[in-house]
Symmetry: C2
Subunit: 314 residues, 2 copies
């Protein structure tokens, strides 16, 4: 049985070496060296060449290198086989690092202190709230969102969550669907978006949504943190909101188009923190272990885990 790696901009060698050393009988190939394509039953993909997966006649399972699968769902002629997302404690840990870091950064006004440092100003911002005076709202309550919620709670924040369908989380106000969005936003000082890119979420972080965030919080204004997908945000609206004081600050790890163009006004905006879509990078070897495990399950007749619901898009 053969597995084909097509990892786009990500180096394939660590995956090839990792999967070859897992002690199973996997014949690991790296695109474009496919060999006989009829041998290929598994693909490990990240932004593969357009239409390539459709050329594999005996493909049985596609594995995504990351938690997001939008890069696959937009492929023309995506084979009708199970599509498995990468879910791993390492990936989850890294995302929660990002979320806690950026919530704390804005809560503790680190952009202001960096500016003071430049000017050699020793000044404490008045009325610094404690974590339990701040209301953080997390949009997207999958594996990543749930872990972020738990860690934010432990830091002391008042945490609420929003998701498409209703969830129950101990100690967390859970809002759901279109109806739950307004009250969720109205009680949120710092909004963390971990939503996938789907038809339903595209352009969701726009002027209307941002205007709905709490205006009575203990910070100078609401904060937006997006570590989900860039297509969920409308960057022109975020810039407008920042410049009209509807939004106080933002941390963005993802962008409408990546890499972010040097022409984007986000780069020079003093109240925006930019990271290059690395909030949570899949660890090579964790991906290999995960794929090998899932293949072993599948070969053994057990159900694959974390199969994407193609209708929902995640």
């Amino acid at each position: 049985m053969a597995l084909l790696i097509a990892s786009g901009p990500i180096k394939p060698e660590p995956f090839a070496e990792g999967l070859s050393s897992m002690g199973n009988a996997l014949d690991v190939r790296v695109w474009p060296e496919t060999g006989d394509v009829t041998d290929i039953r598994y693909a490990l993909a990240w932004k593969p060449p357009e239409g390539m997966l459709a050329t594999l006649p005996n493909l049985e399972v596609i594995f995504s290198v990351g938690a997001g699968v939008d890069h696959l769902l937009t492929q023309s002629g995506l084979p009708d086989v199970p599509l498995v997302r990468f879910v791993d404690p390492n990936l989850t840990m890294r995302m929660s690092e990002y979320v806690c870091l950026h919530v704390l950064t804005h809560h503790r006004r680190m952009l202001d202190y960096a500016e003071n440092k430049k000017q050699k100003i020793w000044k404490e911002w008045e009325k610094q709230p404690a974590a339990n005076e701040l209301r953080v709202g997390v949009m997207g309550l999958g594996v990543l969102g749930l872990d972020a919620v738990e860690k934010l709670k432990i830091m002391g924040y008042q945490v609420a969550g929003w998701s498409r369908s209703q969830k129950q989380i101990n100690g967390v106000d859970c809002f759901a669907g279109e109806k739950g969005q307004k009250p969720f936003l109205a009680r949120t000082d710092i909004l963390v978006c971990l939503l996938p890119h789907t038809a339903g979420t595209e352009g969701m972080l726009n002027t209307e949504l941002i205007s709905g965030l709490a205006k009575d919080g203990p910070l100078p204004g609401p904060v937006l943190i997006n570590a989900g997908r860039g297509k969920v945000q409308v960057e022109a609206d975020i810039l407008d909101a920042l410049d009209s004081d509807t939004l106080w600050a933002a941390s963005l790890d993802v962008f409408e188009n990546e890499p972010l163009s040097a022409k984007s006004q986000l780069w020079a905006h003093p109240r925006v923190i930019i990271t290059p879509h690395n909030a949570s990078i899949s660890d090579d070897q964790a991906v290999c272990r995960y794929v090998a495990d899932q293949i072993a399950r599948y070969e053994n007749g057990d159900a694959l885990e974390n199969v994407v619901d193609l209708k929902q898009g995640y």
Copy 2:
């Protein structure tokens, strides 16, 4: 019974109002309006005028506005009465916010990403470790240190602690005393100092100590975070260590002399984060509740809590 507030640079009114409204029979006075000093049995102090406490003949208990008491221990003729530190969940929460924020900031290379943003550079630093690949070491395992350790553990870090006397903490390697210092430092990538200023800790964060930190960690070099007391650090040594790549980066909330002089080279150093001694600011009303509680205990014949050991200095 009268209580005298002498809170130095901190506004006394919120304490006066808070304590007056606690419903006990406390006659609250604000220095220098002492009235008849023989009435005064309690003092709430922060950097009080030199020698002032010695002029109160019937003083029974001194309360410190903060967790640190070095500002009192250096007073001439400090009355030989119990000295009570401020210990409060709010103060603890704030310190752990600071610790987690600065550990995450250096771990996730936010100084480098801020620099990239200035230059509009989209670049991911290679081999970003996950939290569980980084070894954080916390010096000082009192109430604040213990909470920081627990929260760092939950974020995923490998956490060790060092204290003067041996402690036992579940899931944490505890080192103690002079003998334990070398092995503690040798396994530490990010050092968090929460030590009080005592004769034993003065100047402890010097060239020798910094040189002992781990050289084989996954970051470009070791990191120092000091939110304890400024007199514990030797700023000239920290600057030397940064410039000789013995130290990769530092977050300093406290300084040898505060406010930090505009002449200090720390301000302009690109790998130093400066905050104006506000890692954990006592909440006015929490101080009032705490002092009222302790006075109620004392009047009731119960033991005061968090009494400072004058020999140890904390």
